[in-house]
């Protein structure tokens, strides 16, 4: 099985601070669904950021999709990001754009024609049960609805990897269920590799997914 993410003695540190991740070695294979857990401030989100190139590598090696993140150039990084879906705890939707256009974002960036972007956005909004709110703006939606829009956006361009940072941290049970359900379906039906950073693994999961835990700057395989 091909490695989608490969880290070797990975070290991550913010400027003038002690390293958050001191040495992490792990591999994530194509089609895997992986949970990364840890206490607050343990470096879960930092690790995720390094996977989409928002956090510089301080030491060791990290490869995402076969690309070395240590020496990646700006334009290559942007190209890589066009094949990754990211879900944030604070949704990161564009306030000035309506729901439909927000979902269309990765497709617009990829250069698809407008009608293709719109059709795909509508299909995904139907999946997240928000077709009736396609003309609304993010601030007119509840937190759960905003996260479902972010979920639809992350899936819009059929990415090979989805990185989710506490995707259900602020959500009610229903919205959490929709989000987890969509992530599971993307993983099962499209073989999309999913990495979810979370405080606790929800007990709603039927499958026994892989679990990595960060503690004391190191990463451990739980099962």
């Amino acid at each position: 099985m091909r490695n989608v993410i490969e880290a070797e003695s990975l070290k991550l540190a913010y400027p003038r601070h002690e390293a958050v991740i001191k040495s992490a070695t792990f591999q994530i294979h194509t089609g895997e669904f992986v949970f990364v857990t840890g206490a607050s401030g343990s470096g879960k989100s930092t690790l995720l950021k390094s996977m989409y190139g928002s956090m510089p590598i301080s030491g060791g090696k990290l490869q995402v999709g076969g690309i070395d993140m240590n020496s990646i150039s700006g334009s290559k990084l942007y190209k890589l990001r066009r094949h990754i879906g990211v879900i944030f705890q604070d949704y990161k939707l564009i306030k000035e754009w309506n729901v439909e256009k927000n979902v269309m974002l990765p497709l617009i960036i990829a250069g698809f024609p407008k009608d293709v972007c719109r059709a795909q956005a509508r299909k995904l909004l139907a999946h997240v049960k928000l077709s009736h709110k396609s003309d609304k703006y993010p601030l007119e939606l509840s937190g759960g609805e905003q996260q479902r829009v972010a979920m639809a956006r992350a899936l819009a361009h059929n990415p090979f990897l989805i990185l989710a940072d506490e995707p259900t941290g602020n959500l009610d049970d229903y919205s959490s269920r929709v989000v987890w359900d969509l992530l599971e379906r993307a993983n099962e039906e499209l073989e999309t590799t999913i990495v979810v950073v979370t405080h606790n693994i929800p007990d709603i999961f039927s499958a026994d997914y892989r679990h990595l835990m960060i503690e004391g700057g190191a990463i451990y395989e739980i099962h």
Binding site: Y52, S54, Y78, K79, R81, K92, I94, P106, I108
Partner: protein, 270 residues
């Protein structure tokens, strides 16, 4: 409402800068035109011995454009009737050479005095006569206004530029979040900063249109026209087609610089 405020925040300082530029252009033209007419009103006549070299005179001062001997035949013809040929010949013999001196530009009285001294120091030059119409006071006032306007324009330019920098900082803050999100999904620079550049181009166009409209209004205003005429200047000096090119270039380059400044300063959050 918010959108109008957004546009005005850049359009107004840009309008002030463009208006200052246009005023400076107009003032320059009016004073240049006035200088030209003053120069034409000058008449410098030298009285010199016949042995004097014209090249000595023309090279004596950088202010001199050309020198030309005055034709004395016409004067002599006028007095011919009252005297006989012999007397006329004698007058011709003793009559000095009259030389007309043309100047390159208008010069104030102090400079003219210096020119006079220099001409008098040339061997063979007996006298220098400067005939001028009295324009010095009005010209001095124009020069004073021009200097003041340059200072005022500079001051206005600095204030307007500071206002624009302030607006750019607001832009940066307002667009940062959208640009961050687009960058996270791999949007190239041109795509994530497209809105900014569109905004800058629209604002540059609005400011340009406002300045042109204001200038057209002023040019067609009868009061302004009569003021310009009373100064002896041509009202057509107020608006030139070339100004449009200068103003358009200034407007678009300032606005695009503002947008580029925001884009360059964009840094992805960690």
């Amino acid at each position: 409402m918010r959108s109008i405020r957004h546009h005005l925040a850049l359009v107004l300082p840009l309008f002030a800068i463009l208006f200052s530029i246009e005023y400076l252009l107009v003032f320059d033209r009016i004073t240049d035109n006035y200088e030209k007419r003053l120069k034409e009103n000058y008449s410098v006549i030298l009285v010199a011995d016949k042995s004097v070299k014209l090249s000595d005179i023309s090279h004596s001062d950088t202010l001199i454009e050309s020198v030309e001997p005055v034709d004395t035949e016409t004067v002599l013809k006028r007095i011919k009737g009252s005297m006989n040929e012999e007397s006329l010949e004698k007058i011709k013999e003793v009559m000095p050479l009259f030389i007309s001196v043309k100047l390159r530009r208008y010069a104030e009285s102090g400079r003219m005095e210096r020119l006079k001294r220099e001409l008098l120091s040339i061997k063979g030059v007996r006298d220098v006569h400067i005939f001028e119409k009295v324009h010095d006071r009005l010209y001095a006032m124009l020069l004073f206004m021009k200097t003041n306007f340059y200072l005022f324009g500079l001051f206005l330019g600095v204030i307007s530029f500071l206002l624009m920098v302030k607006q750019m900082t607001i832009w940066q803050f307002e667009h940062k979040e959208r640009m961050q999100i687009m960058a996270l999904f791999g949007a190239p620079v041109w795509l994530r900063s497209g809105v900014l550049f569109r905004l800058a181009i629209v604002d540059a166009f609005l400011a340009l249109a406002a300045v042109v409209a204001a200038m057209i209004y002023l040019v067609t205003d009868s009061k302004v026209e009569s003021i310009v005429k009373s100064m002896g200047a041509d009202p057509s000096l107020l608006l030139h087609f070339n100004d449009l090119a200068v103003l358009a270039a200034a407007s678009f380059s300032i606005a695009l610089f503002a947008a580029a400044w925001v884009v360059i300063r964009f840094k992805e959050e960690q």
